[in-house]
Amino acid sequence: MEKYTSYAAYCWQVCQAMTDADKREKQAAVRDLANHMKDHAAELEAKGYTPQEAMERAIAAMGDPREVGTELNRQLPPKKFNKWCIIGPGILVAVAALLIARNACLFPVPVSRIQLYDIYQTGDTVTFSTLYNLGYSTSISNGEVEEDTFVWSVRQPLLAGPASDTFYYETYRFDMVYINARRQEAGLAPVTKVIFGGITVWTEGMSLPNEPQQESPPQESDGCTIYQLSPESLTSFMLPKE
């Protein structure tokens, strides 16, 4: 066995073998071993050994520090799972998810059949949860939808960049016409907030860059309320402006 000339050198070697121990566990082991060696050395000194001899003999009597360290390491209690390692980040994720969900309405309260097409309403808030644009023609009779035709196209503004911002506003304005008409049928107040992709893009009081063109007022026909949009209007809604 290697010769150790100080308690610290011996204990350091023990600690090296305690690979799974934390600082507190190593400190406790060092305290126990050092006290033991000091007790032994004190007894040897009382028998007439010099302090240096007594220390060296006391250290040698301990045995191989690697073996002692390895055995101590084996007896360490299994590391307790630090719950805050999971709970902490978990809380952050949950809060982030709630904030996103609140804005993006990931758990919306859908109104009417619009829910089938990824447009959600929560209270007075409308959320477009897809990158698709909705075109429509519909007729409502006695509160029941008789005919719904939806035309979907990619919401180009988000893909094409700032040049298409105007189009972007028009598309949701377009959708809002439809949604508000439905809400009116259901006796609900008009939409007051529009969220797209988690971002609030319109709230009540904000002006829209371009009013939709030639939007025909709802017409009563044979007991049906018909919402119509002219081809020009539809074109202007669906295509980016130059």
């Binding site: 082991a29 006290n35 033991h36 101590l72």
Partner: protein, 116 residues
């Protein structure tokens, strides 16, 4: 295997010593060496993993007391669970010893004295 046996036997010795009084580490070593002849040598450092194991199994518990010179000495105390463990270990040891003796007696053609 040999080392594990030694650890288990030392564990029994430690439990036995603590059944009479609370002791600190070096005191246990000196007591063991006093009671056994020089054929039994024990590396003193191996005592501490045993004490850790017994503490973890709640067979012993430790407390600290200051000693002259300003140091703190850790004493070990045998718990009720430790006393039960000691009884079981003693029984196991006697059974083991008896079995070994019986085999040795048969193999050595009765060289061992009766009753050993």
């Amino acid at each position: 295997m040999e080392r594990r046996q030694n650890l288990e036997h030392t564990s029994l010795l430690v439990l036995s010593l603590l059944s009479r009084e609370d002791m600190y580490g070096y005191q246990m070593i000196t007591e063991i060496q006093k009671k056994l002849d020089s054929s039994f040598t024990m590396k003193e450092g191996t005592l501490y993993p045993i004490l850790k194991k017994l503490e973890a199994s709640e067979a012993v518990e430790s407390y600290e007391q200051p000693v002259p010179g300003g140091r703190i000495r850790k004493y070990y105390h045998l718990t009720a669970a430790g006393r039960q463990l000691l009884r079981r270990e003693e029984e196991a040891w006697h059974t083991y010893e008896k079995s070994i003796n019986q085999i040795l007696k048969c193999e050595s053609g009765g060289i061992l004295p009766e009753g050993s």
